[in-house]
Amino acid sequence: MKALGTLLRTEATVFRRDAMSMTFTFLFPILFILIFGAIMGNTGTGEGSRLGLVVLSGAERAALDAILAESALTVREMANPDELEAAVTANDVDFGAIWDGTALVFAYDVRRTQDNFTFEELARGLASRLDLAIQGRTSLLGVEVETEGGEPEADWLTLVIPGIVAFSVLSAGLFAVAGHLTSMKQRKLLDRLIVTPMRPCALLGAIVGVRLVVVVVSTFLTLGIATLVFGIAYDVSWPHYVAFVITATLGSIGLGAIIALVVRQPSSASSLANVLSMLMMFGSGIYFPVEVMPRFLQAASHAMPLRHMADAARYAVGVMDMSEARFWAICGSLLAGGLVLLPLLARYIVRADRR
């Protein structure tokens, strides 16, 4: 027990002094949220999209004004089409509209591939209402959209932050073994520890314990900053959240153990962990929805633990609904991965004879 306490203190000090680990665990998620929150906060909802409007002289505008007044668009009126074109290409407005009384011309910046789908939808709705208004009609067949479960108004950032939380957990767990433990092995620190009465499981326990605390603090910081800076209110289910963080950390350490078992050099283990985490980050729907990916990437994403971790994190913070059975299946799989792989790690890695 005393040995475990000493090891816990040592591991905590090592982590605190490791500038790289501190950067990736704490600073990376915060920077990401601050930058991307500012750049792409409302992406996907269209809410507050900025429309540049030019109404040419002599055009009847009452119907258009009434429709725009009811919309969620922020309208900025401009003097002429040239000014509008300059504003669209400089991103001073998101898209533009020129109304001459008979035709409605929508102007888009074609370089905004990721956003134009939303702007085109908004433009289609606007044109459709104006078309009917000109003929003195309203639509007969209306649509009411209702949201079942999850967060009804989830924008891109609201969905991404739980994904970042899941990625932080994965990174912390993966590099705890793949980077840290293999480095200890190479620097012969393990050899020196093993000749003491220390049991391998005490060392692994210390690593797991420190990483768990780090992950909890890191994920709280991430969610806290999202709430404070961007006003995102997550409806967190704490029992689910705690279960997710503990099992995901153990499961990620288990994944790191596989890397450490396969690759013995610390630099190679870190590289492989880097490559795998990068692949999973892009392929698991953390930044871009899986649904917009090509079919083979969508299929591949099912094999990535991070995709399921991100889904579980979204469920735990109330952004997305899923069945309780699926949530516990994800947590159970992660826990099982950790429990099976950690003893293997103790058996094969924390040994003096392995080089």
């Binding site: 409605l104 007969l140 959209v145």
Partner: protein, 399 residues
């Protein structure tokens, strides 16, 4: 000259032997280009997605034309055309099942992600529409589209269903003589920022990835080599030979440029042959911008190396500045409205100007800044970085 070439060769060989360096210099830019091209290159194209949609028609009275129209329109999209998969996979209630029970079950399936949307056609919808048509007022009942919160696929499916219902509405108005096609609103499209006929996202992103590669090489390669070389006393071993700092620096810069060239060729080749990009990187003006970018980021790497005290500190600093500079440089998408603090970073960021200039001179997209301004900002960064590095950088421990 021999010494300079030897140092350059050592730089290239070392970079190629180190797996982590190789990953960041070569694999990461190629991987990112592949992913971005695959993800955004075909956005909105048909056949990319099949949505599971449940249709619950509670308006089954004889002559319920509107309800039948919606069901038929959704049904048309559940039929495969050619080799592409259908847009919808429709789930409807069995003839002998209770519609209410079916709806409840489908809503449960929607909540947990097994359905992308549930379309509920309420009882009496068609009668309500007929009454509204005669009275020229809005119908009391509407088609209910249920979507699942927090799922992009559900948002997309609901949006498509809304479009389909709007089309059915249009055809109903025409059929009832309430809409005059001759007076229909003319809607046109104006594409700006690039030649819409030839523009593709891959063309936009290849110059961005090329600049990103040069940036990452300078930012991580220089502090990595100089600071670790200094800490492990590799540099000290050089200084006991006749090699002096200017010759070492010349060799280092030459090796760095060689690595950048390899990287550029690989990015261009992947873009060209795997994704059909048409970006003329290897012409005089683009090459000038690329050379300036390589030198700017080389100088920036020396700036980072000169302000860090240890190798680990240098790499941590590089990681900290990497993300804001890369993502606030508009390399992967044009930047929209930014808060003033981030806008300030964007406006002093050399990545912003070099990416913009490269797109401008390759003709892939309209440049936001005049070429002279972009080149001037990059040159100013080189001067500032060189001054700070020559003042602060120490080439040996304890020297």
């Amino acid at each position: 000259m021999t010494a300079i070439l030897a140092v350059a060769r050592t730089y290239v060989v070392t970079a190629c032997r180190e797996r982590e360096t190789l990953f960041w210099f070569l694999v990461f830019p190629l991987l990112l280009l592949t992913l971005l091209a695959l993800i955004f290159g075909n956005i909105g194209e048909s056949g990319a997605m099949t949505y599971d949609i449940a249709v619950v028609n509670l308006d089954t009275a004889p002559g319920a034309a509107a309800a039948a129209g919606v069901v038929a329109a959704l049904g048309q999209l559940s039929v495969a055309e050619g080799e592409s998969r259908p847009l919808f996979r429709l789930h409807t209630a069995a003839a002998d099942s209770d519609p209410g029970t079916f709806l409840a079950a489908e809503l449960d399936a929607l909540r947990i992600g097994r359905r992308a949307a549930v379309v509920e056609i309420p009882q009496g919808l068609s009668a309500s529409i007929a009454a509204a048509a005669h009275g020229s007022v809005a119908a009391e009942l509407a088609v209910r589209v249920h979507k699942s919160g927090g799922r992009t696929s559900s948002d997309m499916a609901a949006s498509i269903v809304e479009d389909i219902v709007a089309q059915v509405d249009h055809s109903l108005l025409v059929r009832m003589g309430l809409y005059d096609e001759a007076r229909a609103l003319r809607v046109e499209r104006l594409d700006l920022g690039a030649n819409a006929e030839t523009f593709s996202y891959v063309d936009f992103v290849v110059p961005g990835i090329a600049i990103m590669g040069l940036f990452v090489s300078g930012l991580f390669g220089v502090p990595g080599t100089i600071l670790f070389g200094r800490e492990r006393k590799v540099l000290r071993a050089y200084w006991v030979t006749p090699l002096d700092v200017p010759h070492y620096f010349a060799g280092f810069a030459l090796g760095h440029l060689a690595i950048c060239t390899i990287q550029l060729v690989c990015v261009w080749a992947l873009g060209r042959f795997a994704f059909g990009a048409h970006v003329a990187l290897f012409r005089p003006l683009p090459l000038l911008v690329l050379l300036l970018a390589s030198v700017t980021f080389l100088a920036f790497g020396f700036l980072v190396a000169s302000v860090a005290r240890t190798a680990n500190g240098g790499m941590a600093l590089a990681n900290i500045v990497n993300m804001p500079m890369m993502f606030l440089g508009g390399l992967f998408y044009p930047l929209g409205q930014l808060p003033s603090a981030l806008r300030a970073i964007m406006m002093v960021n050399p990545v912003t100007y070099l990416g913009d200039a490269l797109r401008g001179v390759t003709g892939t997209a309209a440049a936001s800044f005049p070429l002279g301004v972009s080149l001037g900002v990059a040159a100013a960064w080189i001067v500032v970085c060189a001054l700070v590095a020559s003042w602060r950088l120490t080439w040996d421990v304890g020297r």
